[in-house]
């Protein structure tokens, strides 16, 4: 069904503006007419050859008359092709622009939770290479396909009119050719499906071999690595199977046209010898067979191009059909800035497996609240829900006195700063990356937050200082250094609420003092919600929310109170307390 639509160009309709769809329709209809005219010109080959040989009329016209008809058709075809090709390309280019903008809009309005690690790569591939391919498929392959189909149909009709036996032969040739091509592509697919997993596996084994050379070498494992060699053997084995199927398929598709042509000629020859075909007609029939089969080849090539790219279109449909985060048109006013209220929140990434269950707590303005609990208890998820990466299943999350669903993204983000684990830096200077926090900050303010967050240390160390470029995504800085930039941004932004994940700062231990200082500063201006790991942080919190493994709240209170209760917090604290005093030697 979808395939059929792709072939007819109908699948593009939903992604075309009406005016472009009109143009496209016109272009395709003209392409069909062009095909019909070309078909007529080819059919003329039959009577014109006859009249050339006999010097008499054939189908009512003399040779010279037929030449005039051909000339007229040539002019009309040229004109129609010009219009058709232009209409198709105008529509195709319109499609490309429209799709690019639509994708951009989609991305800007996706829920943050929808972004995966490979989304960026996929999107950049789609907007560059695949979009051009799709445009080409739409404007070029679809048009040529229709032209080819049009002319082939007319040729078949013409052959029937010319000679019934020949008409029958040509008609039978079409499904025969299609069948051979179908079997051929099936063979090739089969071979590839057999060898593809082994190939993939081998490739990832080699990547693994490279990535973990350290471990392998220290374990005396070299090129004799058993798993790798097994993968090589499997790739050989399935490669051979692929060879057999692939060769079979290739030979079929390579020879399909030849098989048909030879059969047609032999049949025509035999019919002529037995007197069932007139001799002159036979000559023309052989000639027409040779041409007809070339046309079939062209049609099937265009078809392959369309079907192949139809898959890309399928992926595009999928992306553009994903839900956007519903956003209110106008934001509700912030009534109590800096306040977070979590009420009866239930949330599951996968239906039926709630990560957060009936969670209730309030963080008042200016308060510092620590979230603690075992791994996988939903600490990060709560942070993400407050920043509305996802919408909750039931209950409510309020920021600044309003449910986050009643705030525009912009309004919500005015309230919040995030210092999370995966920090993204733009491929710009270090300075620009910090200034994102508040573009109009003064030099003095910039220097002050940099000093506080430990960015100054990086600036002093790197040869280009503030002007050092951070590389794509911040690649030229280490994880700890990126974290410092993200803290500096948050310091500069001074949002009423700061969401802070301490986990990665643990890996930047040389900078720990700066982190503590920064947090103290953030605490002065903002409500601070921290996924806390360090004892100082936990102890300094005004409120500690202790989560249990099943995503419920086990305890709420401050350190003084909780540490005396015989609840889970007591055990947690004692454990961490011992860990912190750990000595390697």
């Amino acid at each position: 069904m979808l395939r059929g639509k792709a072939i007819l160009g109908l699948r593009y309709k939903r992604w075309l503006k009406p005016e472009h769809w009109q143009r496209y329709k016109l272009g395709l209809i003209l392409a069909g007419i062009e095909g019909i005219l070309i078909g007529i010109a080819l059919v003329i080959l039959l009577p014109i050859s006859m009249s050339l040989m006999t010097g008499e009329r054939s189908w009512g016209l003399y040779f010279t008359h037929w030449l005039i008809v051909l000339a007229a058709i040539a002019v009309i075809v040229a004109a129609i092709d010009y219009i058709s090709v232009r209409q198709c390309y105008i529509a195709g280019l319109g499609f490309m622009r429209h799709m690019l903008l639509k994708l951009g809009h989609k991305i800007a309005n996706w829920p943050l939770g929808a972004f995966k690690a490979d989304t960026a790569g996929e999107m950049s591939r789609i907007v560059s290479k695949e979009m051009v391919d799709l445009m080409e498929s739409m404007a070029h392959f679809n048009k040529n396909f229709l032209t080819g189909v049009g002319s082939s149909l007319i040729v078949i009709v013409g052959c029937w009119a010319w000679n019934r036996s020949f008409g029958l032969l040509v008609t039978i040739a079409v499904p025969t050719y299609a069948l051979i091509i179908y079997i051929a592509s099936h063979c090739v697919d089969r071979g590839q499906k057999m060898s593809e997993p082994a190939e993939q596996n081998l490739a990832s084994r080699i990547v693994e071999f490279a990535k973990y050379q350290g471990a392998l070498r220290s374990a005396h494992v070299g090129t004799d690595y058993k798993v790798l060699n097994e993968a090589f053997a499997a790739s050989q084995k399935y490669g051979l199977k692929n060879l057999i199927w692939g060769s079979l398929g290739n030979i079929l598709s390579g020879m399909a046209a030849q098989i048909i042509v030879v059969s047609l000629i032999v049949l025509a020859g035999v019919l002529a010898v037995t007197g069932q075909l007139m001799v002159l007609q036979t000559i023309v029939i052989i000639g027409m067979s040779l041409r007809f089969i070339t046309m079939l080849e062209d049609v099937s090539n265009n078809l392959f191009g369309i079907v192949e790219r139809g898959q890309m279109l399928g992926r595009l449909d999928e992306i553009l059909d994903t839900d956007e985060l519903p956003e209110v048109k106008s934001s509700a006013p912030i009534t109590s800035p800096g306040e977070i209220v979590i009420e009866n929140v239930v949330f599951a990434y996968n239906p039926g497996q709630p990560v957060i269950q009936n969670v209730n707590f309030v963080v008042s303005q200016g308060e510092m609240c620590a979230i603690v609990g075992p791994s996988g208890c939903g600490k990060t998820t709560i942070m993400k829900l407050i920043a509305r990466f996802y919408d909750i299943d039931s209950g409510s999350v309020s920021v600044g006195g309003q449910d986050v669903r009643d705030l525009t993204t912009e309004k919500l983000m005015e309230q919040i700063s995030m210092v999370f684990q995966d920090v993204y830096l733009f491929d710009d200077t270090l300075e620009a990356n910090v200034l994102i926090g508040r573009p109009d900050a003064t030099r003095a303010e910039l220097e002050r937050v940099a000093e506080l967050a430990g960015v100054s240390e990086i600036v002093r160390r790197l040869p280009d200082g503030w002007k050092t470029r951070c590389g794509e995504g911040g690649r030229s800085l280490s994880g700890g250094e990126r974290q410092r930039v993200s803290i500096a941004r948050a310091l500069l932004k001074r949002a009423p609420i700061v969401l802070f994940d301490e986990a990665t700062s643990a890996l930047d231990a040389e900078n720990e003092v700066n982190i503590v200082k920064s947090m103290k500063e953030l605490k002065q201006h903002s409500t601070l919600l921290v996924i806390a790991h360090k004892l100082e942080t936990i102890q300094a919190a005004d409120k500690i929310v202790v989560l249990a493994e099943n995503g419920t709240v086990a305890q709420i209170g401050n350190h003084q109170k909780l540490v005396q209760d015989p609840g889970p917090y007591h055990g947690f604290w004692m454990q961490r307390y011992q860990n912190a005093g750990w000595k390697l030697v």
Binding site: Y82, S128, L202, L243, I283, M413, F420, L507
Partner: protein, 608 residues
């Protein structure tokens, strides 16, 4: 001009790389090409049959006699024979290219693997890992088809139409000219429509790259973009780039489309029929040729234009593979670490680092550093990030060789030891746990594949991970990354178990592994404490408190050693104190120390 030159050089480099990669299968390709050549020539057979049969039929018609059946049969037999020959040769050619293809692919990967096994460990940074990934996953795929099948396909695409055309010339040179028909005009118009394409294509690529870069920025940076209310701006940037690109494409494409439609119109089917039949009738009337021959010339003229376009497309895809081939060649030229042919056996496990200097390109990471690690002692490297402590540890494991100076184990320079000997002596536990996509048991027993399950479980117990593994459905046979994903802390403990089993006397470790996963710190810490027992240890330290008891603390700063000694010796050393202060780590001796942040740290240092 310069851009044109560099792109030419690039294309040249690509061609050279392709040639180099194709070397091992050259003879296969040549044989396949010869077979393809013959089979391509045989493609003329149906057209020959048309001329011959046509002649027979025409004679029969003109003389009003029955058809000369034996000649017809003879011609048909010739046609079938030629077809079978062609089928056979084509099949043989395909088989040979496919075999060459498999051989090439296999060899390429084998060679890459061998090069990887010999590269300095320092070579394996993220950048180069990406290259390997691209090389074995994408580039090999792209290159192998083009190298093995490309030459044959190209020949096939050229030889068939070419022999058809030559056949026409053989029939009669004027007929040959007729078969070429309007193609010269087409080529003229076509090259006119493609004028200036080179520069435009470059400009176009740049615009496209911009669109893609803005897209990446929008997607990858979406959290930052949203958090700092830059959605509008970034989205606007993308829109701008997309519109720019679409405008540019439109301005480039539409004239091209119009002109190429014009070029196409001179080779349209009706026009070719008109020209060939019109010219043909003159030649028939002049008695030069017969109708079947004219028909053949017409049919050939109809196939030639699309054959030309196919050829240009194939050549284009061949050029695309050039850059992939260049990348693969770079991979095959990976620098190799030399291994001595006459290894010396170290006496003991003390480590001497003598006057070592090492730089990454221009940046000096270590300068004239000397440290001695007595057998069985613990040495901690301390200092701000970028001070050179990781580099020093890396050199001891021979990830790279020092630019100057030497590192010796038991009196023998690392370079005078075989790799087997070296890694019998040295093992490392770094921040990346380096777990392989295989069973947990195989991961732990990597260095000692013969270890019994008992032994494996014993070390896993020591590494505090046995219980976790036993709780998995397939226990020690669990395939990592397939049956289950371990948490960061669990991965670390598997790596520690592996190191315990390997039992090398010298251990290099990163103390950060101890707090890679705050939720299972206690277990990792116990595992590490077990691991370091009785070994000569070099530890990259981050928290001064954790290594306070080390036999030797080396404080590093900008590639130099700023201070060294035991904790007690260093208490009054400024460098040490500043590192301790900056790291903010407190020795939680009594609960009284637990307070908030900086003050306690300062206190700790001043009191000490």
């Amino acid at each position: 001009m310069t851009r044109d030159q560099t792109s030419k050089q690039k294309a040249q480099a690509g061609q050279n790389a392709m040639k180099r990669l194709a070397q091992p299968i050259r003879s296969y390709v040549i044989v396949a090409q010869v077979l393809t050549f013959i089979s391509g020539v045989l493609n003329v057979a149906p057209y020959v049959a048309l001329v011959k049969l046509g002649q027979v039929f025409l004679t029969a018609y003109q003389q009003a006699k029955p058809v000369d059946a034996p000649t017809v049969r003879q011609n048909l037999r010739f046609l079938i024979f030629a077809f079978c020959m062609r089928l056979f040769l084509y099949f043989l050619g395909l088989l040979i290219t496919h075999i060459a293809d498999i051989k090439l692919r296999n060899q390429l990967r084998r060679r890459i693997v061998e090069k990887l096994a010999g590269a300095p460990l320092a070579w394996f940074d993220t950048n180069n890992s990406g290259k390997v990934r691209k090389g074995v996953q994408d580039d090999t795929k792209m290159v192998h088809t083009l190298i093995a099948h490309g030459p044959v396909d190209r020949l096939n695409a050229i030889i068939s139409p070419l022999s058809l055309m030559i056949y026409c010339f053989i029939l009669d040179w004027r007929l040959g000219l007729l078969s070429v028909g309007t193609i010269p005009l087409f080529l003229l118009l076509y090259s006119w429509s493609m004028k200036g394409m080179g520069e435009k294509t470059v400009a176009m690529d740049n615009k496209l790259a911009e669109v893609s870069a803005h897209m990446v920025e929008l997607v990858a940076g979406i959290k930052v973009v949203k958090a700092f209310a830059k959605v509008g701006e970034t989205h606007e940037n993308f829109k701008q780039a997309a519109n720019d690109y679409a405008d540019f494409y439109y301005d480039w494409c539409m004239p091209l489309v119009s002109r190429s439609s014009l070029a196409q119109s001179v080779v349209s089917t009706p026009l070719i029929l008109l020209v060939c039949l019109g010219g043909g009738v003159l030649m028939i009337e002049a008695g030069i040729v017969s109708l079947p021959a004219v028909l053949v010339a017409t049919l050939v003229a109809l196939t030639l234009p699309s054959a030309l376009i196919t050829i240009t497309k194939i050549v284009w895809s061949y050029q695309l593979a050039g850059s992939a081939a260049v990348r693969l060649c770079e991979l095959l030229d990976t620098p190799q670490m030399s291994e001595t042919s006459s290894p010396k056996t170290p006496a003991g496990c003390s480590v001497e680092i003598n006057n070592v200097t090492y730089s990454y390109g221009e940046t000096v990471a270590l300068e004239d550093v000397s440290v001695y690690l007595p057998e069985g002692s613990v040495t901690a490297l301390l200092g701000p990030s970028g001070s050179g402590k990781s580099t020093l540890a890396m050199l001891l494991a021979r990830f790279a060789d020092p630019d100057a100076g030497s590192i010796k184990i038991g009196g023998v320079d690392l370079r005078d030891m075989s790799f087997d000997q070296l890694y019998d002596h040295v093992s490392f536990v770094l921040q990346d746990a380096m777990l392989l996509h295989t069973s947990i048991r195989n991961n732990i027993a990597l260095a000692k594949p013969t270890a019994s399950l008992e032994e494996v479980r014993q070390v896993a117990q020591a590494a505090q991970i046995d219980d976790t593994i036993m709780a998995l459905p397939a226990a020690y046979d669990t395939i990592l990354g397939q049956d289950c994903e371990l948490s960061g802390g669990e991965q670390q403990r598997v790596a520690i178990a592996r190191a315990i089993l390997a039992d090398a006397p010298i251990l290099i470790m990163d103390e950060a592994t101890a707090f890679a996963d705050p939720d299972s710190e206690a277990e990792i810490q116990r595992a590490l404490s077990h691991l370091v027992k009785g070994r000569t240890v070099l530890v990259i330290a981050h928290r001064p408190g954790a290594i306070r008891g080390a036999n030797q603390i080396v404080v590093m700063e900008r590639g130099h050693i700023a201070a060294r000694g035991r904790h007690e010796d260093l208490i009054n050393n400024n460098h040490y104190r500043s590192v301790v202060a900056q790291s903010g780590t407190v020795d939680w001796g009594t609960e009284a120390h637990v307070s908030v942040g900086v003050d306690s740290v300062r206190e700790e240092v001043t009191h000490a």
